[in-house]
């Protein structure tokens, strides 16, 4: 008799249909989050601070309690939820624009305060939902609708390396950067998400995972070519790895 080796996670709503563009890695990241919530058995006590961006309707996909935050303020909202309900598991799921541009102050200070919350940041080097504008993680030379000749130092400055910056904050318990370009990396991404969630459950502080993701629509690439771009253009700039893990330090 055949054994079931894959199923849709219980934390995904029945008959949910993702609103992401075809081939977008957001769907994979959303599934990984749901799988980790299932495996940790925390669905009943989990509260999502939903962000603004391509994942704005995440509460339509996940079978958990959620609150929508204004653009960039998910981390501030998550702080409030966690402080009011310290027994709940609280996390945010944000894009790079929401987390590291509009919400940079909220994000950085949550890490500096060592808020006992977890954050997932999807880095696709652009503002996806609004049409592919230059974002805080747009890499040098990348053409976007607001940098038609490519990002340059003189006019736009440099991209932010989020996982490294968050790792420098004393309140951070875990900070890692992962990718979804291959199945092997998808498995590693799931382990990193689990770790970022576990540090909160252990009360150790801020848990963070930056996920390198594709935006085939705004990059004007096929989904397969978009994964090649992640490998060839993004990874040399945004190096994968664990930048801080206080559970591994002796």
């Amino acid at each position: 008799m055949a054994e079931q080796v894959f199923k849709i996670p219980d934390s995904i709503k029945k008959n949910a249909k993702f609103s992401y563009c075809p081939g977008c890695d957001h769907g994979v990241a959303t599934r990984l989050v749901a799988e980790v919530i299932d495996e940790l058995g925390i669905r009943e006590k989990t509260i999502l601070a939903a962000s603004v961006g391509c994942s704005v309707t995440l509460y339509d996909f996940l079978e958990i309690d959620s609150l929508e935050a204004p653009h960039g303020r998910a981390m501030a909202e998550a702080t409030g939820i966690k402080r009011a309900c310290p027994d709940k598991f609280v996390f945010t799921y944000q894009g790079d624009g929401d987390f590291a541009s509009i919400g940079l102050a909220e994000s950085m200070h949550a890490a500096l305060r060592g808020e006992n919350i977890s954050a997932i940041c999807i880095n696709n080097t652009t503002y996806g939902m609004t049409g592919g504008q230059l974002g805080p993680t747009t890499i040098m030379g990348q053409k976007t609708t607001t940098s038609p000749t490519g990002r340059n130092r003189e006019y736009y400055g440099y991209p932010i390396k989020i996982a490294e910056h968050i790792a420098l904050c004393d309140g951070t318990a875990y900070s890692a950067r992962v990718s979804l370009d291959t199945v092997a990396n998808i498995r590693k991404a799931k382990q990193a998400i689990k770790k970022a969630f576990e540090v909160q459950l252990k009360g150790l502080g801020f848990g963070f995972v930056e996920i390198l993701s594709t935006c085939p629509t705004n990059w004007k690439m096929t989904p397969d070519k978009a994964h090649e771009r992640v490998r060839n253009e993004m990874m040399p700039v945004f190096k994968l790895g664990v930048y801080k893990d206080i559970t591994a330090e002796g």
Partner: protein, 70 residues
């Protein structure tokens, strides 16, 4: 015998699964779904599916709903 199940109405025709399958058992169909996309279909007449679930891990839309390994 290993096999997968596909929810045809979730398929957005990104075809990532077509290239991911190590046995090339997922093909682009001429059939369109409710979204107007040419969906993928599982063609395994020789029983070659490994049940590795790489297609399901890759699918961004949970269209590949179940994988059985046997």
């Amino acid at each position: 015998m290993s096999y997968i199940t596909i929810d045809r109405d979730k398929c957005k025709a990104c075809y990532l699964c077509v290239n991911e399958c190590p046995k090339k058992l997922i093909k682009i169909s001429k059939t369109k779904n409710s979204l107007g996309n040419n969906i993928v279909e599982f063609c395994d007449e020789k029983g070659e599916c490994l049940g590795c679930a790489m297609c399901a891990m890759r699918c961004p839309d949970l269209a590949i709903e179940e994988v059985y390994k046997g």
